[in-house]
């Protein structure tokens, strides 16, 4: 057990003009994650603290936030790994704050809807059988299909901060997940969206998104691959 100071961003839309920082001093048990600490504060210290959480093991994507300046999932961040006893917790940057650590993810979802985030097929599937896909073709989806829509990547992207119309790493990774699926036949429809000045060409390959992704995915690589795909399509 050790005493830690949590400096948490607070904003109550019904009371506050603007955000403020509130300090909580709590005893942290060995093995606690940042989410454990937030839960402790909410349940036993201050019930007004607000944040999203559900699965508490890094699969639902609810608890993305900025912890000591870095984006990540609260439920998967070991407090002891932060190497300090003073911990700042802020909502994800780049999205409007609703309350405390809860942001409006709608801008993120809107970008997803834009790239048509579903398999597009024209050839009818076989009846009462699966479509075939070789393990090699399936392997092309690895590193793309695992995304949990936590928003950590897009929130860390300086290009997105500057241009809110930029599709962002999350939506572009999702586009790649379909464009590289051997079963997908939506090339034209999707490329017309991403081959755009707010699409793949906007990214400056700064790799912030790669560093931010808690699932160790690589949206930058996906963006580079999409560019190649588009250029090849134009030849």
């Amino acid at each position: 057990m050790a005493e830690y100071v949590f400096k948490i961003f607070r904003y109550d839309p019904e009371k506050d003009e603007t955000g403020r920082v509130q300090e909580y001093r709590i005893d942290v048990q060995p093995g606690w994650t940042v989410l454990d600490a937030l839960n402790y504060i909410k349940w036993f210290v201050d019930g007004t603290l607000s944040y999203r959480r559900a699965c508490r093991h890094g699969i639902c994507g609810s608890c993305g936030m900025t912890i000591n300046g870095k984006n990540g999932l609260a439920c998967e961040t070991q407090i002891k790994d932060l190497g300090t006893t003073v911990i700042t917790v802020e909502p994800l940057r780049g999205f409007p704050v609703i309350k405390d650590l809860i942001v409006d993810m709608e801008p993120l979802y809107d970008k997803l809807y834009a790239i048509k985030p579903y398999l597009i097929t024209k050839t009818p599937p076989p009846t009462d059988k699966e479509r075939l896909q070789s393990p090699e073709d399936r392997a092309k989806l690895d590193g793309k299909y695992e995304c949990i829509l936590c928003g950590c990547c897009t929130s860390s992207c300086p290009t997105y901060w500057a241009d809110k119309n930029f599709l962002g790493p999350n939506a572009l990774l999702k586009a790649a997940r379909f464009l590289f699926d051997s079963r997908d036949e939506g090339y034209e429809e999707r490329v017309s969206v991403i081959d755009d000045k707010h699409g793949v060409w906007r990214c400056h390959t700064i790799f912030n998104c790669v560093e931010a992704c808690p699932k160790e995915l690589n949206p930058t690589q996906a963006i580079v691959d999409l560019r190649k795909l588009i250029l090849r399509g134009k030849l």
Binding site: D12, P13, E14, K15, P30, G31, T33, K42, W43, F44, G47, T48, S50, R53, A54, C55, R56, H57, G58, I59, C60, G61, S62, C75, E76, T77, Q78, K80, D81, I98, K99, D104, M105, E106, Y109, D110, L112, Y113, A114, K116, P117, Y118, L119, T121, P125, D128, E130, R131, L132, Q133, S134, R138, L141, Y145, E146, I148, F178, D181, R183, D184
Partner: protein, 615 residues
């Protein structure tokens, strides 16, 4: 931009500008007292829950041309279906011989003969079609060398009517099966323009002259009561693992659907059956896959002994879930937990760093990230974790909710997925059968609702007072000058449930637990919600959830006390044997002011006569 818009897309945060029902809504209802007209919505079908069950139903209805609204307290892809790792069962026979009949038998046997065989038969028959449909939707299943859907072994699924060895039946996408199914369904819902209302919390059902005609909900983001009127209402609110301190379930699995149903005077079925998974990460309950034991991990007590040799000398750590959970609990009760506590060690160190990193990367990642323990260097503390709820809202095989628990449909209301009890899992669910259950019955509910809508039932006029109870509840919670915090009451409930109504049950423990719950319910009357605001008030939400947990736990405990036998996941130390003569029947339980009342209904047995469940 896609035509599709989520409800929130129409809102300026903090203020909902856009009224979202069809226009004739204004014609057919009077304004319910206390609800602003812009918060009254009308849809053909209203679905609560956006896990596999809810979204499958939504798609089915949408494809049939109906206007459907899906309400969910978390954004759809955050539903707990996404946490499932292992797989979804179907006798596809992609890699070796398998038959629907074998799957049928295994499920019946796994249920300890309490599953209804007509429902099970329909589910296993539908299974291959569901998997192919998922594949056609775009699910990135893992593939066999010849490009078919990959299948793996899973406990309890075997060849030749229980006589043969394990069979490759669990369709999989690496160890992310639930994640890919959930995301793909959501993608399809986006494609078909299903209308989601995310972060809306179910408060009550609106029932008028024996017909369900809508729900009331709390808008979490903006605050405010909304009324959703529909002709067909589906509950797909998932499990209730949060009745327990140690659970593999999400924070959101708080029995809300069940609480609402009970408060409408309806019964629940087979609530005593709660499945415990042996390898829950200690203190948290987060699931470590069966793979950990499958790859040769040892279970060790505080004396360093591989204790499974005293409980299942042949299968050792690979014995079925309930056997291993009970062995662990027996060790813990005998004081042989590590440091005298409620966990034992799962020791993987002898497998070596290379094998652990190659074969069990996820387990290593979870224990490192969540507990800060590296299984290469240290044993991982594990304890049985509340995992799956076999019981729930009684339905017939078309997912229609039964008002008397037996035959009489409550018109307008359906239930599917983990919150429902059809019953396909009986006393014990086989791994990979619940993703199947949620999908098959989600789809079936959707179909049946569409068929019902096609008969053009009339809209009822909303009763003027339909939201008053919900409003009163919220106002009371926000203004009650109490002293008891939801977190503290919940903690006491969960810890006691784990100790007194968990893997082992005894009369004295259950009676004690029942009294504890009664006491906690009294304390709940003195609750204090510290957050007084309307907007994103998660303190309020937790208080609402707590009420559902308390009421559901009461029924679990009463049902466990009532069933004086051991069957499947329900193990009574004082009645250690299965008793077919008296107990081969489903429990129906009504929660009333005077306590829990019981009735029973027979198990549907068509094909396989009950025999001893031996593995």
């Amino acid at each position: 931009m896609a035509e599709y818009k989520e409800y929130r897309g129409m809102c300026v945060v903090g203020e909902c500008k856009k009224y979202y029902g069809t226009d004739d809504a204004k014609v057919i209802h009077e304004e319910p007292k206390g609800v602003e007209i812009k918060n009254v919505h009308l849809h053909d079908a209203v679905i609560v829950g956006a896990g596999l069950a809810g979204m499958y139903a939504a798609l089915e209805l949408k494809k049939a041309g109906y206007d459907v609204a899906v309400l969910t307290k978390v954004f759809p892809t955050r539903s707990h279906s996404g946490a499932a790792q292992g797989g979804i069962s179907a006798a596809l026979a992609n890699l070796e011989e398998d038959h629907i009949e074998w799957h049928f038998f295994d499920t019946v046997k796994g249920s300890d003969y309490l599953g209804d065989q007509d429902a099970i038969e329909m589910m296993v028959k539908e299974a291959p079609r569901i998997i192919y449909e998922y594949e056609h939707m775009g699910v990135p299943f893992s593939r066999t060398p010849d490009g078919k859907i990959m299948q793996r072994y899973f406990g309890g699924h075997v060849k030749d009517f229980g006589r043969g060895g394990p069979v490759l039946r669990a369709c999989m996408a690496a160890d992310r099966t639930g994640h890919v199914l959930l995301h793909t369904l959501w993608e399809q819902c986006v494609k078909y323009n299903v209308r989601f209302y995310s972060e809306f919390f179910l408060l009550s059902l609106i029932i008028k002259s024996g017909k369900c005609i809508g729900v009331t909900v709390w808008d979490l983001i903006n605050g405010g009561i909304h009324v959703f009127q529909g002709k067909a209402i589906l509950l797909a609110t998932g499990g209730y693992g949060r009745c327990y301190s140690i659970t593999s379930n999400s924070h959101a699995n708080t029995a809300d659907g069940l609480g609402v149903v009970m408060r409408a005077g309806l019964p629940l079925e087979d609530m005593e059956f709660v499945q415990f998974h042996p390898s829950g990460l200690a203190f948290l309950g987060v699931l470590l896959t069966e793979g950990a034991r499958g790859e040769g991990g040892y279970l060790i007590n505080n004396e360093g002994e591989r204790f499974m040799k005293r409980y299942a000398p042949e299968k050792m750590e690979l014995a079925p879930r309930d056997v291993v959970s009970r062995a662990m609990w027996a060790e813990i009760e005998a004081g042989r937990g590590i440091n005298g506590q409620q966990y034992v060690y799962l020791d993987l160190r002898h497998l070596g760093a290379q094998k652990i990193m190659e074969r069990l990367p996820q387990i290593r990642e979870i224990s490192m990230k969540l507990l800060g323990i590296d299984p290469i260097k240290e044993p991982v503390p594990v304890q049985p974790t509340a995992h799956y709820s076999m019981g729930g809202i009684p339905t017939d095989i078309c997912c229609r909710v039964l008002a008397d628990g037996k035959e009489k449909w409550l018109e307008g209301l359906w239930a599917a997925g983990e919150c429902a009890c059809v019953s396909v899992h009986g006393a014990n669910r086989l791994g990979t059968n619940s993703l199947l259950d949620a999908s098959v019955h989600g789809k079936r509910a959707g179909k049946d609702m569409a068929a019902y809508l096609s008969t053009n039932p009339p809209y009822e006029v909303l009763p003027e007072d339909c939201a008053l109870d919900a409003i009163k509840q919220i106002e009371w919670l926000l203004n009650n000058p109490g002293t008891e915090r939801p977190g503290a009451i919940r903690k006491e409930l969960q810890e006691n449930m784990y100790n007194l109504c968990g893997v082992f049950r005894r009369k004295e423990d259950l009676e004690k637990m029942y009294n504890i719950i009664k006491d906690l319910q009294r304390r709940y009357k003195n609750i204090l919600v510290q957050d007084k605001g309307a907007k994103f008030n998660t303190d309020l939400m937790e208080a609402l959830e707590l009420r559902n947990l308390l009421e559901t736990a009461e029924v679990i405990v009463a049902s466990a006390l009532n069933r004086t036998e051991s069957r499947g996941a329900h193990y009574r130390r004082d009645y250690p044997n299965r008793d077919d003569e008296n107990w081969l029947k489903h429990t129906l339980a009504w929660r009333t002011e005077e306590g829990v009342k019981f009735d029973y209904k027979p198990v549907v047995i068509t094909r396989f006569k009950p025999e001893e469940r031996k593995y």
